[in-house]
Subunit: 303 residues, 2 copies
Amino acid sequence: MDNRIVCTGTLGLDTTRTPFRTVENVLGGSAAYFSYSASFFVPVSVISVIGEDFPKGYLELLSRKGIDLSGVEKRDGEKNFAFDSEFSYDLYARKALKTELKILENYLPNLPHRLVETEFVYLGTFAPKQQLHLLEQFESPKLVIADTIEYYIENDRPALMDVMGRIDGLVINDIELRMLAQTHNLVKAAFTLLEKGLKLLVVKKGEHGCIIFSEEGAFPLPAFPLENVVDPTGAGDSFAGGFFGHIARKNGTLDQKTLKEATAYGTIMGATAVGDFSLNNLLNTTPEKIEETFHGYRRMLFF
Amino acid sequence: MDNRIVCTGTLGLDTTRTPFRTVENVLGGSAAYFSYSASFFVPVSVISVIGEDFPKGYLELLSRKGIDLSGVEKRDGEKNFAFDSEFSYDLYARKALKTELKILENYLPNLPHRLVETEFVYLGTFAPKQQLHLLEQFESPKLVIADTIEYYIENDRPALMDVMGRIDGLVINDIELRMLAQTHNLVKAAFTLLEKGLKLLVVKKGEHGCIIFSEEGAFPLPAFPLENVVDPTGAGDSFAGGFFGHIARKNGTLDQKTLKEATAYGTIMGATAVGDFSLNNLLNTTPEKIEETFHGYRRMLFF
Protein backbone atom coordinates (compact mmCIF):
# COMPACT_ATOMS: atom_id res chain seq x y z
CA MET A 1 0.00 0.00 0.00
CA ASP A 2 1.15 3.53 -0.74
CA ASN A 3 0.04 6.36 1.56
CA ARG A 4 -2.57 7.48 -0.91
CA ILE A 5 -5.42 9.80 0.09
CA VAL A 6 -8.76 9.38 -1.63
CA CYS A 7 -10.68 12.63 -1.55
CA THR A 8 -14.13 13.64 -2.59
CA GLY A 9 -15.50 17.16 -3.10
CA THR A 10 -16.29 19.46 -5.98
CA LEU A 11 -14.42 20.21 -9.20
CA GLY A 12 -15.86 23.59 -10.01
CA LEU A 13 -15.83 26.51 -12.38
CA ASP A 14 -15.30 29.68 -10.35
CA THR A 15 -16.13 33.20 -11.36
CA THR A 16 -14.56 35.38 -8.72
CA ARG A 17 -15.01 39.14 -8.58
CA THR A 18 -12.76 41.21 -6.36
CA PRO A 19 -12.54 45.02 -6.29
CA PHE A 20 -9.20 44.62 -8.07
CA ARG A 21 -9.82 42.01 -10.74
CA THR A 22 -12.38 39.49 -11.96
CA VAL A 23 -11.67 36.02 -13.31
CA GLU A 24 -14.26 33.85 -15.05
CA ASN A 25 -14.75 30.10 -15.09
CA VAL A 26 -11.37 29.30 -13.59
CA LEU A 27 -10.62 25.92 -12.01
CA GLY A 28 -11.94 25.75 -8.44
CA GLY A 29 -13.86 23.51 -6.04
CA SER A 30 -12.79 21.82 -2.84
CA ALA A 31 -11.44 18.64 -4.49
CA ALA A 32 -9.29 20.66 -6.91
CA TYR A 33 -7.57 22.70 -4.19
CA PHE A 34 -7.32 19.79 -1.75
CA SER A 35 -5.95 17.26 -4.23
CA TYR A 36 -3.39 19.59 -5.77
CA SER A 37 -2.13 20.69 -2.37
CA ALA A 38 -2.02 17.15 -0.91
CA SER A 39 -0.28 15.76 -4.01
CA PHE A 40 2.93 17.49 -2.90
CA PHE A 41 3.00 14.98 -0.03
CA VAL A 42 1.35 11.69 -1.11
CA PRO A 43 -0.47 10.20 -4.12
CA VAL A 44 -4.07 11.42 -4.37
CA SER A 45 -7.21 10.09 -6.07
CA VAL A 46 -10.24 12.29 -6.65
CA ILE A 47 -13.83 11.02 -6.59
CA SER A 48 -16.12 13.63 -8.11
CA VAL A 49 -18.39 14.56 -10.98
CA ILE A 50 -17.98 17.02 -13.86
CA GLY A 51 -20.25 18.34 -16.57
CA GLU A 52 -19.85 18.51 -20.30
CA ASP A 53 -18.46 22.05 -20.12
CA PHE A 54 -15.58 21.25 -17.78
CA PRO A 55 -12.43 22.10 -19.78
CA LYS A 56 -10.16 19.20 -20.66
CA GLY A 57 -7.21 21.44 -19.84
CA TYR A 58 -8.25 21.55 -16.19
CA LEU A 59 -8.24 17.76 -15.99
CA GLU A 60 -4.82 17.67 -17.63
CA LEU A 61 -3.51 20.21 -15.15
CA LEU A 62 -4.47 17.87 -12.31
CA SER A 63 -3.32 14.66 -13.95
CA ARG A 64 0.04 16.18 -14.93
CA LYS A 65 0.61 16.56 -11.16
CA GLY A 66 0.02 12.80 -10.86
CA ILE A 67 -3.48 13.12 -9.43
CA ASP A 68 -5.57 10.03 -10.22
CA LEU A 69 -8.86 11.08 -11.85
CA SER A 70 -10.22 7.60 -12.66
CA GLY A 71 -12.97 8.22 -10.07
CA VAL A 72 -14.18 11.39 -11.78
CA GLU A 73 -17.51 10.79 -13.52
CA LYS A 74 -18.20 12.88 -16.60
CA ARG A 75 -21.83 13.61 -17.41
CA ASP A 76 -22.62 14.57 -20.96
CA GLY A 77 -25.51 16.96 -21.39
CA GLU A 78 -25.15 18.35 -17.87
CA LYS A 79 -23.65 21.62 -16.77
CA ASN A 80 -20.67 21.60 -14.45
CA PHE A 81 -20.87 22.86 -10.88
CA ALA A 82 -20.19 26.61 -11.05
CA PHE A 83 -19.89 29.35 -8.46
CA ASP A 84 -20.03 33.06 -9.19
CA SER A 85 -19.20 35.27 -6.21
CA GLU A 86 -18.00 38.70 -5.26
CA PHE A 87 -15.64 39.77 -2.51
CA SER A 88 -15.88 42.96 -0.51
CA TYR A 89 -13.05 45.48 -0.49
CA ASP A 90 -11.32 43.81 2.47
CA LEU A 91 -11.39 40.41 0.68
CA TYR A 92 -13.14 39.00 3.73
CA ALA A 93 -16.89 38.91 3.12
CA ARG A 94 -18.01 36.98 0.05
CA LYS A 95 -21.42 37.28 -1.60
CA ALA A 96 -22.71 34.47 -3.80
CA LEU A 97 -24.14 35.83 -7.06
CA LYS A 98 -25.03 32.69 -8.97
CA THR A 99 -24.56 28.98 -8.45
CA GLU A 100 -25.01 26.08 -10.84
CA LEU A 101 -25.55 23.12 -8.49
CA LYS A 102 -27.88 20.75 -10.32
CA ILE A 103 -25.24 18.21 -11.28
CA LEU A 104 -24.45 17.61 -7.59
CA GLU A 105 -28.04 16.96 -6.57
CA ASN A 106 -28.39 13.31 -7.54
CA TYR A 107 -24.69 12.47 -7.58
CA LEU A 108 -23.47 9.61 -5.42
CA PRO A 109 -19.67 9.18 -5.29
CA ASN A 110 -18.51 5.78 -6.55
CA LEU A 111 -15.21 4.33 -5.44
CA PRO A 112 -13.24 2.37 -8.09
CA HIS A 113 -12.75 -1.14 -6.73
CA ARG A 114 -8.94 -0.97 -6.69
CA LEU A 115 -9.15 1.86 -4.13
CA VAL A 116 -11.27 0.10 -1.50
CA GLU A 117 -8.24 -0.69 0.65
CA THR A 118 -7.14 2.97 0.81
CA GLU A 119 -6.25 3.95 4.37
CA PHE A 120 -6.61 7.73 4.16
CA VAL A 121 -9.90 9.34 3.24
CA TYR A 122 -10.77 13.03 2.94
CA LEU A 123 -14.43 13.89 2.68
CA GLY A 124 -14.47 17.40 1.21
CA THR A 125 -17.47 19.67 1.00
CA PHE A 126 -20.43 17.59 -0.14
CA ALA A 127 -23.78 16.79 1.41
CA PRO A 128 -23.43 14.50 4.46
CA LYS A 129 -25.32 11.68 2.65
CA GLN A 130 -22.79 11.85 -0.19
CA GLN A 131 -19.89 11.78 2.24
CA LEU A 132 -21.41 8.75 3.97
CA HIS A 133 -22.07 6.97 0.67
CA LEU A 134 -18.42 7.22 -0.25
CA LEU A 135 -17.15 6.33 3.21
CA GLU A 136 -19.14 3.08 3.28
CA GLN A 137 -17.25 1.78 0.25
CA PHE A 138 -13.88 1.59 2.01
CA GLU A 139 -12.90 -1.68 3.69
CA SER A 140 -11.21 -0.34 6.80
CA PRO A 141 -9.85 3.16 6.45
CA LYS A 142 -7.22 4.09 9.01
CA LEU A 143 -7.89 7.83 9.17
CA VAL A 144 -10.92 9.69 7.86
CA ILE A 145 -11.05 13.48 7.94
CA ALA A 146 -14.03 15.53 6.78
CA ASP A 147 -14.91 19.12 6.07
CA THR A 148 -18.35 20.66 6.19
CA ILE A 149 -19.97 24.07 5.67
CA GLU A 150 -22.62 26.26 7.31
CA TYR A 151 -25.31 25.13 4.88
CA TYR A 152 -25.25 21.51 6.09
CA ILE A 153 -24.93 22.49 9.76
CA GLU A 154 -28.11 24.53 9.40
CA ASN A 155 -30.09 22.33 7.05
CA ASP A 156 -28.87 18.77 7.45
CA ARG A 157 -27.78 18.43 11.07
CA PRO A 158 -28.99 14.84 11.69
CA ALA A 159 -27.12 13.44 8.65
CA LEU A 160 -24.08 15.50 9.56
CA MET A 161 -24.11 14.03 13.07
CA ASP A 162 -24.15 10.61 11.43
CA VAL A 163 -20.99 11.57 9.55
CA MET A 164 -19.45 12.92 12.75
CA GLY A 165 -19.92 9.55 14.42
CA ARG A 166 -17.92 7.78 11.70
CA ILE A 167 -14.94 10.00 11.07
CA ASP A 168 -11.71 10.58 13.01
CA GLY A 169 -11.12 14.22 12.32
CA LEU A 170 -12.96 17.35 11.27
CA VAL A 171 -11.59 20.48 9.59
CA ILE A 172 -13.88 23.42 10.15
CA ASN A 173 -13.73 27.20 10.53
CA ASP A 174 -14.45 29.05 13.77
CA ILE A 175 -17.93 30.26 12.75
CA GLU A 176 -18.95 26.74 11.68
CA LEU A 177 -17.62 25.26 14.93
CA ARG A 178 -19.66 27.69 17.03
CA MET A 179 -22.77 26.81 15.00
CA LEU A 180 -22.14 23.09 15.18
CA ALA A 181 -21.49 22.96 18.93
CA GLN A 182 -24.03 25.71 19.66
CA THR A 183 -21.73 27.53 22.04
CA HIS A 184 -19.71 30.71 21.61
CA ASN A 185 -16.40 29.88 23.30
CA LEU A 186 -14.26 28.04 20.73
CA VAL A 187 -12.42 25.94 23.30
CA LYS A 188 -15.61 24.77 24.97
CA ALA A 189 -17.14 24.10 21.55
CA ALA A 190 -14.15 22.02 20.52
CA PHE A 191 -14.07 19.89 23.64
CA THR A 192 -17.82 19.26 23.30
CA LEU A 193 -17.10 17.61 19.93
CA LEU A 194 -14.07 15.69 21.22
CA GLU A 195 -16.19 14.28 24.05
CA LYS A 196 -18.58 12.94 21.40
CA GLY A 197 -15.78 10.79 20.02
CA LEU A 198 -13.88 12.92 17.52
CA LYS A 199 -10.12 12.34 17.75
CA LEU A 200 -8.97 15.43 15.94
CA LEU A 201 -10.45 18.85 15.34
CA VAL A 202 -8.77 21.52 13.25
CA VAL A 203 -10.33 24.95 13.69
CA LYS A 204 -9.34 27.31 10.88
CA LYS A 205 -9.43 31.04 11.65
CA GLY A 206 -8.27 32.47 8.31
CA GLU A 207 -5.66 35.21 8.74
CA HIS A 208 -5.57 34.40 12.47
CA GLY A 209 -4.21 30.89 11.99
CA CYS A 210 -5.75 27.81 13.54
CA ILE A 211 -6.16 25.78 16.71
CA ILE A 212 -5.62 22.02 16.77
CA PHE A 213 -7.57 20.01 19.33
CA SER A 214 -6.77 16.39 20.07
CA GLU A 215 -6.13 14.15 23.04
CA GLU A 216 -2.73 15.89 23.19
CA GLY A 217 -4.60 19.07 24.19
CA ALA A 218 -5.22 22.35 22.38
CA PHE A 219 -2.55 24.25 20.57
CA PRO A 220 -2.81 27.35 18.41
CA LEU A 221 -0.54 28.25 15.52
CA PRO A 222 -0.55 31.60 13.71
CA ALA A 223 -0.86 32.21 9.97
CA PHE A 224 1.80 34.09 8.04
CA PRO A 225 1.29 37.85 8.08
CA LEU A 226 0.49 38.33 4.37
CA GLU A 227 0.73 41.64 2.61
CA ASN A 228 -0.71 40.54 -0.70
CA VAL A 229 -3.84 38.45 -0.65
CA VAL A 230 -5.31 38.23 -4.14
CA ASP A 231 -8.14 35.71 -3.71
CA PRO A 232 -8.98 33.85 -0.48
CA THR A 233 -10.86 31.12 -2.39
CA GLY A 234 -9.49 27.66 -1.66
CA ALA A 235 -7.38 28.68 1.36
CA GLY A 236 -9.14 26.19 3.64
CA ASP A 237 -9.04 23.29 1.17
CA SER A 238 -5.38 23.93 0.39
CA PHE A 239 -4.67 24.06 4.13
CA ALA A 240 -6.45 20.71 4.56
CA GLY A 241 -4.41 19.24 1.67
CA GLY A 242 -1.08 20.15 3.26
CA PHE A 243 -2.27 19.16 6.71
CA PHE A 244 -3.66 15.72 5.80
CA GLY A 245 -0.96 15.19 3.17
CA HIS A 246 1.79 15.39 5.78
CA ILE A 247 -0.09 13.18 8.25
CA ALA A 248 -0.63 10.54 5.55
CA ARG A 249 3.06 10.76 4.62
CA LYS A 250 3.77 10.01 8.29
CA ASN A 251 1.48 6.95 8.12
CA GLY A 252 -1.41 8.60 9.95
CA THR A 253 0.43 9.33 13.19
CA LEU A 254 -1.40 11.87 15.34
CA ASP A 255 1.30 12.66 17.89
CA GLN A 256 1.91 16.27 18.79
CA LYS A 257 5.04 16.66 16.70
CA THR A 258 3.34 15.36 13.55
CA LEU A 259 0.25 17.48 14.16
CA LYS A 260 2.32 20.66 14.54
CA GLU A 261 4.34 19.87 11.43
CA ALA A 262 1.12 19.12 9.56
CA THR A 263 -0.34 22.43 10.69
CA ALA A 264 2.76 24.22 9.44
CA TYR A 265 2.46 22.54 6.03
CA GLY A 266 -1.27 23.35 5.94
CA THR A 267 -0.53 26.97 6.76
CA ILE A 268 2.06 27.14 3.99
CA MET A 269 -0.26 25.63 1.37
CA GLY A 270 -3.13 27.94 2.41
CA ALA A 271 -0.87 31.01 2.22
CA THR A 272 0.35 29.88 -1.19
CA ALA A 273 -3.17 29.47 -2.58
CA VAL A 274 -4.36 32.98 -1.67
CA GLY A 275 -1.50 34.72 -3.47
CA ASP A 276 -3.24 34.40 -6.84
CA PHE A 277 -6.54 33.37 -8.43
CA SER A 278 -7.51 29.72 -8.91
CA LEU A 279 -4.65 27.24 -8.38
CA ASN A 280 -2.13 29.53 -10.09
CA ASN A 281 0.20 29.97 -7.15
CA LEU A 282 0.02 26.30 -6.21
CA LEU A 283 1.07 25.49 -9.79
CA ASN A 284 4.15 27.64 -9.34
CA THR A 285 5.39 26.24 -6.05
CA THR A 286 7.80 23.32 -5.65
CA PRO A 287 8.64 20.78 -2.95
CA GLU A 288 11.88 22.74 -2.36
CA LYS A 289 10.05 26.05 -1.82
CA ILE A 290 7.60 24.33 0.51
CA GLU A 291 10.47 22.89 2.59
CA GLU A 292 12.25 26.22 2.73
CA THR A 293 9.08 27.99 3.89
CA PHE A 294 8.51 25.21 6.44
CA HIS A 295 11.88 25.87 8.04
CA GLY A 296 11.21 29.62 8.02
CA TYR A 297 7.86 29.08 9.73
CA ARG A 298 9.44 26.92 12.41
CA ARG A 299 12.15 29.53 12.99
CA MET A 300 9.51 32.25 13.23
CA LEU A 301 7.93 30.45 16.18
CA PHE A 302 11.12 29.37 17.89
CA PHE A 303 12.63 31.36 20.75
CA MET B 1 19.86 53.58 37.44
CA ASP B 2 17.41 50.75 37.92
CA ASN B 3 15.36 49.56 34.94
CA ARG B 4 12.30 51.43 36.17
CA ILE B 5 9.34 52.12 33.88
CA VAL B 6 7.40 55.34 34.44
CA CYS B 7 3.87 54.93 33.16
CA THR B 8 0.95 57.24 32.79
CA GLY B 9 -2.70 56.36 32.21
CA THR B 10 -5.88 56.15 34.23
CA LEU B 11 -6.59 54.81 37.68
CA GLY B 12 -10.27 54.11 37.39
CA LEU B 13 -13.36 52.79 39.08
CA ASP B 14 -14.92 50.17 36.84
CA THR B 15 -18.46 48.94 36.90
CA THR B 16 -18.51 45.95 34.58
CA ARG B 17 -21.69 44.10 33.66
CA THR B 18 -21.44 40.70 32.01
CA PRO B 19 -24.34 38.30 31.36
CA PHE B 20 -22.92 36.19 34.17
CA ARG B 21 -22.04 38.68 36.92
CA THR B 22 -21.74 42.40 37.61
CA VAL B 23 -19.07 44.10 39.71
CA GLU B 24 -19.26 47.74 40.83
CA ASN B 25 -16.54 50.32 41.32
CA VAL B 26 -13.68 47.85 41.23
CA LEU B 27 -10.10 48.94 40.59
CA GLY B 28 -9.45 49.46 36.88
CA GLY B 29 -7.87 51.85 34.39
CA SER B 30 -4.92 51.45 32.06
CA ALA B 31 -2.26 52.54 34.58
CA ALA B 32 -3.57 50.08 37.20
CA TYR B 33 -3.39 47.06 34.89
CA PHE B 34 -0.16 48.12 33.22
CA SER B 35 1.74 48.94 36.41
CA TYR B 36 0.66 45.83 38.27
CA SER B 37 1.58 43.59 35.37
CA ALA B 38 4.93 45.32 34.66
CA SER B 39 5.89 45.30 38.34
CA PHE B 40 6.52 41.54 38.10
CA PHE B 41 9.50 42.45 35.89
CA VAL B 42 10.92 45.87 36.91
CA PRO B 43 10.17 48.71 39.36
CA VAL B 44 7.27 50.89 38.20
CA SER B 45 6.16 54.47 38.94
CA VAL B 46 2.66 55.68 38.08
CA ILE B 47 1.87 59.25 37.03
CA SER B 48 -1.88 59.79 37.24
CA VAL B 49 -4.73 61.56 38.98
CA ILE B 50 -7.42 60.31 41.37
CA GLY B 51 -10.53 61.83 42.91
CA GLU B 52 -11.70 62.09 46.46
CA ASP B 53 -13.73 58.88 46.17
CA PHE B 54 -10.84 56.63 45.06
CA PRO B 55 -10.58 54.00 47.83
CA LYS B 56 -7.42 54.07 49.93
CA GLY B 57 -7.41 50.26 49.75
CA TYR B 58 -6.81 50.36 45.99
CA LEU B 59 -3.73 52.55 46.46
CA GLU B 60 -2.48 50.17 49.14
CA LEU B 61 -3.00 47.22 46.84
CA LEU B 62 -0.66 48.84 44.28
CA SER B 63 1.93 50.11 46.74
CA ARG B 64 2.09 46.74 48.52
CA LYS B 65 3.33 45.39 45.15
CA GLY B 66 6.13 48.00 45.33
CA ILE B 67 4.57 50.34 42.77
CA ASP B 68 5.66 53.95 43.35
CA LEU B 69 2.62 56.22 43.57
CA SER B 70 4.39 59.47 44.46
CA GLY B 71 3.38 60.82 41.04
CA VAL B 72 -0.34 60.24 41.66
CA GLU B 73 -2.13 63.53 42.27
CA LYS B 74 -5.17 63.40 44.57
CA ARG B 75 -7.89 66.01 43.98
CA ASP B 76 -10.22 66.70 46.86
CA GLY B 77 -13.73 67.67 45.86
CA GLU B 78 -13.47 65.94 42.48
CA LYS B 79 -14.93 62.64 41.41
CA ASN B 80 -12.60 59.86 40.22
CA PHE B 81 -12.54 58.65 36.63
CA ALA B 82 -15.22 55.97 36.37
CA PHE B 83 -16.39 53.67 33.59
CA ASP B 84 -19.64 51.74 33.60
CA SER B 85 -19.98 49.25 30.74
CA GLU B 86 -21.79 46.13 29.67
CA PHE B 87 -20.50 43.14 27.71
CA SER B 88 -22.52 41.11 25.23
CA TYR B 89 -23.05 37.40 25.73
CA ASP B 90 -19.87 36.48 23.86
CA LEU B 91 -17.78 38.84 26.06
CA TYR B 92 -16.58 40.51 22.89
CA ALA B 93 -18.62 43.63 22.22
CA ARG B 94 -18.67 46.20 25.02
CA LYS B 95 -21.21 49.02 25.38
CA ALA B 96 -20.36 52.08 27.47
CA LEU B 97 -23.25 52.97 29.78
CA LYS B 98 -21.84 55.86 31.81
CA THR B 99 -18.47 57.57 32.12
CA GLU B 100 -17.23 60.06 34.67
CA LEU B 101 -14.37 61.80 32.84
CA LYS B 102 -14.30 65.35 34.18
CA ILE B 103 -11.23 64.92 36.37
CA LEU B 104 -9.13 63.99 33.32
CA GLU B 105 -10.09 67.04 31.29
CA ASN B 106 -7.72 69.62 32.71
CA TYR B 107 -5.16 67.18 34.12
CA LEU B 108 -1.54 67.49 33.00
CA PRO B 109 0.79 64.73 34.22
CA ASN B 110 3.65 66.03 36.35
CA LEU B 111 6.84 64.05 36.68
CA PRO B 112 8.51 64.11 40.13
CA HIS B 113 12.00 65.53 39.64
CA ARG B 114 13.84 62.44 40.86
CA LEU B 115 12.30 60.46 37.92
CA VAL B 116 13.50 62.71 35.08
CA GLU B 117 16.39 60.39 34.25
CA THR B 118 14.12 57.36 33.82
CA GLU B 119 14.97 55.45 30.65
CA PHE B 120 11.73 53.56 30.06
CA VAL B 121 8.46 55.39 29.56
CA TYR B 122 5.00 53.97 28.90
CA LEU B 123 2.35 56.42 27.75
CA GLY B 124 -0.93 54.65 28.54
CA THR B 125 -4.35 55.74 27.31
CA PHE B 126 -4.58 59.51 27.75
CA ALA B 127 -5.13 62.35 25.32
CA PRO B 128 -2.13 62.89 23.02
CA LYS B 129 -1.44 66.32 24.54
CA GLN B 130 -1.25 64.74 28.00
CA GLN B 131 1.11 62.05 26.71
CA LEU B 132 3.31 64.75 25.13
CA HIS B 133 3.27 66.87 28.28
CA LEU B 134 4.64 63.99 30.31
CA LEU B 135 7.13 62.91 27.69
CA GLU B 136 8.72 66.37 27.51
CA GLN B 137 9.71 66.16 31.16
CA PHE B 138 12.17 63.29 30.70
CA GLU B 139 15.81 64.14 30.03
CA SER B 140 16.66 61.48 27.47
CA PRO B 141 14.46 58.42 27.66
CA LYS B 142 15.91 55.32 26.01
CA LEU B 143 12.66 53.62 25.00
CA VAL B 144 9.19 55.18 24.86
CA ILE B 145 6.16 53.04 24.10
CA ALA B 146 2.64 54.42 23.82
CA ASP B 147 -0.91 53.14 23.57
CA THR B 148 -3.87 54.93 22.06
CA ILE B 149 -7.56 54.34 21.41
CA GLU B 150 -10.10 54.85 18.63
CA TYR B 151 -11.38 58.06 20.18
CA TYR B 152 -8.08 59.93 19.70
CA ILE B 153 -7.48 58.46 16.25
CA GLU B 154 -10.84 59.83 15.16
CA ASN B 155 -10.90 63.11 17.04
CA ASP B 156 -7.33 64.17 17.69
CA ARG B 157 -5.26 62.87 14.77
CA PRO B 158 -2.83 65.81 14.40
CA ALA B 159 -1.80 65.69 18.08
CA LEU B 160 -1.57 61.91 17.92
CA MET B 161 0.74 62.17 14.89
CA ASP B 162 2.89 64.49 16.99
CA VAL B 163 3.14 61.75 19.62
CA MET B 164 3.92 59.18 16.94
CA GLY B 165 6.89 61.24 15.81
CA ARG B 166 8.42 61.17 19.29
CA ILE B 167 7.98 57.60 20.48
CA ASP B 168 9.81 54.37 19.67
CA GLY B 169 6.98 51.89 19.89
CA LEU B 170 3.21 51.70 19.69
CA VAL B 171 0.87 49.10 21.17
CA ILE B 172 -2.45 49.09 19.37
CA ASN B 173 -5.23 46.70 18.42
CA ASP B 174 -6.00 45.62 14.87
CA ILE B 175 -9.07 47.83 14.46
CA GLU B 176 -7.17 50.89 15.70
CA LEU B 177 -4.23 50.14 13.39
CA ARG B 178 -6.51 49.96 10.34
CA MET B 179 -8.07 53.29 11.35
CA LEU B 180 -4.74 54.94 12.03
CA ALA B 181 -3.08 53.85 8.78
CA GLN B 182 -6.33 54.13 6.78
CA THR B 183 -5.79 50.81 5.03
CA HIS B 184 -7.40 47.43 5.56
CA ASN B 185 -4.48 45.00 5.25
CA LEU B 186 -2.78 44.82 8.66
CA VAL B 187 0.67 44.15 7.25
CA LYS B 188 0.53 47.07 4.84
CA ALA B 189 -0.86 49.28 7.61
CA ALA B 190 1.98 48.30 9.93
CA PHE B 191 4.75 48.94 7.42
CA THR B 192 3.21 52.34 6.60
CA LEU B 193 3.78 53.32 10.25
CA LEU B 194 7.27 51.83 10.40
CA GLU B 195 8.24 53.82 7.33
CA LYS B 196 7.21 56.96 9.20
CA GLY B 197 9.89 56.26 11.81
CA LEU B 198 8.32 53.93 14.37
CA LYS B 199 10.80 51.25 15.52
CA LEU B 200 8.33 48.84 17.05
CA LEU B 201 4.66 48.12 16.51
CA VAL B 202 2.69 45.61 18.54
CA VAL B 203 -0.67 44.74 17.02
CA LYS B 204 -2.97 43.09 19.54
CA LYS B 205 -5.71 40.83 18.15
CA GLY B 206 -7.36 39.66 21.40
CA GLU B 207 -8.05 35.92 21.37
CA HIS B 208 -6.12 35.68 18.08
CA GLY B 209 -2.80 36.73 19.61
CA CYS B 210 -0.64 39.48 18.18
CA ILE B 211 1.81 40.43 15.46
CA ILE B 212 5.08 42.19 16.24
CA PHE B 213 6.54 44.47 13.55
CA SER B 214 10.07 45.83 13.78
CA GLU B 215 13.16 46.13 11.63
CA GLU B 216 13.54 42.39 12.34
CA GLY B 217 10.41 41.83 10.21
CA ALA B 218 6.90 40.70 11.11
CA PHE B 219 6.15 37.77 13.35
CA PRO B 220 2.84 36.57 14.73
CA LEU B 221 2.34 34.74 18.01
CA PRO B 222 -0.94 33.12 19.09
CA ALA B 223 -2.83 33.65 22.34
CA PHE B 224 -3.59 30.78 24.68
CA PRO B 225 -6.82 28.98 23.84
CA LEU B 226 -8.84 29.99 26.92
CA GLU B 227 -11.93 28.17 28.05
CA ASN B 228 -12.89 30.55 30.83
CA VAL B 229 -12.81 34.24 30.12
CA VAL B 230 -14.55 36.14 32.92
CA ASP B 231 -13.85 39.78 32.00
CA PRO B 232 -11.71 40.98 29.04
CA THR B 233 -11.18 44.39 30.68
CA GLY B 234 -7.48 45.21 31.06
CA ALA B 235 -6.20 42.42 28.79
CA GLY B 236 -4.38 44.87 26.51
CA ASP B 237 -2.84 46.92 29.32
CA SER B 238 -1.73 43.79 31.18
CA PHE B 239 -0.23 42.49 27.93
CA ALA B 240 1.66 45.77 27.51
CA GLY B 241 2.91 45.54 31.11
CA GLY B 242 4.40 42.08 30.61
CA PHE B 243 5.75 43.00 27.18
CA PHE B 244 7.45 46.26 28.15
CA GLY B 245 8.38 44.90 31.59
CA HIS B 246 10.47 42.15 30.04
CA ILE B 247 12.10 44.49 27.51
CA ALA B 248 13.02 46.94 30.29
CA ARG B 249 14.41 44.05 32.34
CA LYS B 250 16.60 43.28 29.31
CA ASN B 251 17.80 46.91 29.22
CA GLY B 252 15.62 47.91 26.29
CA THR B 253 17.05 45.46 23.77
CA LEU B 254 14.82 45.05 20.71
CA ASP B 255 16.42 41.99 19.12
CA GLN B 256 14.17 39.25 17.86
CA LYS B 257 14.76 36.89 20.79
CA THR B 258 13.88 39.55 23.37
CA LEU B 259 10.82 40.66 21.38
CA LYS B 260 9.50 37.10 21.19
CA GLU B 261 10.10 36.50 24.87
CA ALA B 262 8.44 39.84 25.66
CA THR B 263 5.44 38.84 23.55
CA ALA B 264 5.20 35.57 25.44
CA TYR B 265 5.23 37.39 28.79
CA GLY B 266 2.67 39.87 27.50
CA THR B 267 0.45 37.03 26.34
CA ILE B 268 0.70 35.36 29.74
CA MET B 269 -0.15 38.55 31.67
CA GLY B 270 -3.10 39.27 29.35
CA ALA B 271 -4.44 35.73 29.74
CA THR B 272 -4.06 36.03 33.50
CA ALA B 273 -5.99 39.30 33.68
CA VAL B 274 -9.08 38.03 31.84
CA GLY B 275 -9.58 35.07 34.17
CA ASP B 276 -11.35 37.22 36.78
CA PHE B 277 -12.74 40.73 37.33
CA SER B 278 -10.50 43.73 38.08
CA LEU B 279 -6.90 42.82 38.98
CA ASN B 280 -7.99 39.78 40.99
CA ASN B 281 -6.17 37.15 38.96
CA LEU B 282 -3.04 39.29 38.66
CA LEU B 283 -3.06 39.56 42.47
CA ASN B 284 -3.04 35.79 42.70
CA THR B 285 -0.21 35.02 40.32
CA THR B 286 3.45 34.73 41.25
CA PRO B 287 6.80 35.08 39.45
CA GLU B 288 7.09 31.26 39.66
CA LYS B 289 3.70 30.71 38.00
CA ILE B 290 4.61 33.23 35.30
CA GLU B 291 7.91 31.43 34.57
CA GLU B 292 6.20 28.05 34.46
CA THR B 293 3.59 29.34 32.02
CA PHE B 294 6.34 30.96 29.94
CA HIS B 295 8.07 27.61 29.49
CA GLY B 296 4.74 25.96 28.63
CA TYR B 297 4.04 28.62 26.01
CA ARG B 298 7.46 28.17 24.45
CA ARG B 299 6.95 24.39 24.34
CA MET B 300 3.53 24.86 22.77
CA LEU B 301 5.13 26.64 19.81
CA PHE B 302 8.18 24.44 19.48
CA PHE B 303 8.36 21.61 16.98
